[in-house]
Symmetry: C2
Subunit: 110 residues, 2 copies
């Protein structure tokens, strides 16, 4: 196909797109919202909550964990997941700076 290499873009652009990609699937949005709603660790009721199979949820969790947005602690047979608030804040700062670009541009056009 011809993949656009990350070298073509700035670190900031690559970082923004990586975070955005994590939110680019409703299942992951749903997982994150659930973790916030519960506001504590969730031990595996995500499969019941969302209507997807266990391996699928596990895969989505893995991606979110890899990005650092969530933490997973083993607790007996189950694993407890929760938001990594520190990393979430850092991500939010990056994304907010991107979304707030309009504040600096006053021009009208077209």
């Amino acid at each position: 196909m011809g993949l656009a290499k990350t070298e073509m873009f700035t670190d900031e652009q690559n970082e923004i797109s990586l975070f955005a990609k994590a939110f680019g699937h409703p299942a992951r949005v749903s997982i994150l919202q659930h973790l916030f709603k519960i506001d504590s660790c969730v031990c595996g009721d995500l499969v019941a909550e969302i209507g997807l199979a266990q391996p699928t949820i596990s895969q989505h969790l893995k991606e979110l964990k890899l990005l650092g947005l969530i933490k997973g602690n083993v607790e007996g047979t189950s694993v407890c997941y929760c938001i990594d608030k520190e990393n979430w804040t850092a991500m939010k700062n990056v994304m907010t700076a991107f979304l707030d670009q309009d504040l600096k541009s006053s021009g009208e056009c077209c």
Copy 2:
């Protein structure tokens, strides 16, 4: 494969993921940043700016336009693109509400 249907998720979750998907590629992030930086219409120098072929850029522009984040006005042989600030603000409100979830959750865990 088995696509997760949009009916499985809330309208909000689907909307967030659609916007996020638009930002999920560094080329589109780059296009949007450039449009903000210029702060006026851009008549097709995006291909020179970003290192991708003209059909590729055109395709990315189409997606952003379909989502309503940018506008394109035909002007002679060229087309002028700029941010649709009204829609950008609406998108920002949706995304910000999602990103700011952490403000409402005070709990410590794990």
